[in-house]
Symmetry: C2
Subunit: 158 residues, 2 copies
Amino acid sequence: MSRNDLASSACSVARSIEKVGDTWSLMLLREFFLGTRRFEALHKNTSISPHVLSGRLKAMCEEGVIEKRQYSEHPPRDEYVLTQKGRDLWPVVLALKAWGDRWLDGPQAVTLRHRSCGQVMQPVITCQACGQAVTPRDVVTEIGEEFAGERCTCRSEG
Amino acid sequence: MSRNDLASSACSVARSIEKVGDTWSLMLLREFFLGTRRFEALHKNTSISPHVLSGRLKAMCEEGVIEKRQYSEHPPRDEYVLTQKGRDLWPVVLALKAWGDRWLDGPQAVTLRHRSCGQVMQPVITCQACGQAVTPRDVVTEIGEEFAGERCTCRSEG
DNA sequence: AGGCTAGCTTCCGTATTTGAAGGGAGTCAA
DNA sequence: TTGACTCCCTTCAAATACGGAAGCTAGCCT
C-alpha cells in the first residue's frame, strides 16, 4: 500500500496522516504557526528544497490547509497563510513540541506564554464534556462493529 | 538538508518530527494505541511493507518509543509495546484524530469514550497553570534571543 | 543597460519505498 | 518423520521521491 491509499481508510487518524502526516508538511505547519508566510522565508527556515516546497505548498492549498494571498500587485507576489482548517492543526504541532520538550535533549528555542495567565504554557488535554484532564487510560476505545472484522487483533494479554 | 539533520535543530518541534513525524511511524503509533503489538498484526492493519515495518520498529526501539518484549520462549516470539516515552505521544495521535473527524469526510471507525464522565471524548487543550482552554491566539510565541537571528522573518503585516 | 529580488521550475544523481518473493525457526497433525 | 503451517522477518528489482545546484521569468531599482 502506498501513502495515498490512507485517504480511503476507515480511520480518521490515517486520513489525517495522509494529508499532513509527513515530515515536510509538519515542518511547514510549524513554520506557519510561527508566522512565516513567504516562499523564500519558508525555504530558508525549513531548508526544504524549492522543488519539494513548491509541491507541498500546492498540495496544502488543494487540501484547503493554507491559501495563497496576493500581497503585492506590482510585482505580483503571493504569500501563504493558514485557513481555519489549517489553524485547527495547532494541537498537532503543539503536541509534538510538548513531547520534544519533555523527551528530547536540545535547546528550547521557542517558549509559549499564555496571554491571560502569564505562565509558560504547558498543554494538557481535557475532556470537553467534563473538563477533566485525560490520559490514554481514562478513555475507552470503541471500534464500530462494521469495522471490527477488518482488524487483526491478535495479541497476548497483560 | 535531509530529514536527519532535523535532530540537531534548535526547535523541539523539528526534533520531534525527525523522530516520529513520518507517515509510517505515525501509523504505527495509532496502531500501538489501539493495542496492536505483533509484527504480523501491525503489518496487516497498517499495510506497511515488512521491510519498512521492520526498519521502523528497529528505529522506534532505538529511540526508546517502544520496546521489544518476549511473550513466548518456545517458539521465541517478541511483541512491541509502547514505553512511557511512546505513550506520551498520545496527544499527537489524538490531535490528528480530532482534526480528521472535524475536517475530513469518511467513516469514523473509532470513538473514544471518557471513562469517568461517560461522554464521547472531544479533546480540548488547556493551560496547565490556569486550566483554561487555549487556542493559538491565546499564547505569545517567544523566540529565545540567541535563536532570533537565525530565522528569516520577512513577511507582510496584517 | 545591468544588477537584484522573489518565486518558482528543471535537471540529475542518490536514497528510499513498494511489492513480491523467500527463508529460518519453531509447532502441529498424520 | 514428513509435510504443512505460523510468525517474524530479509532480500531483491523496479518505481518513486528527494537533495542540491542551476536556471528562468517578471518586475523592480539606479
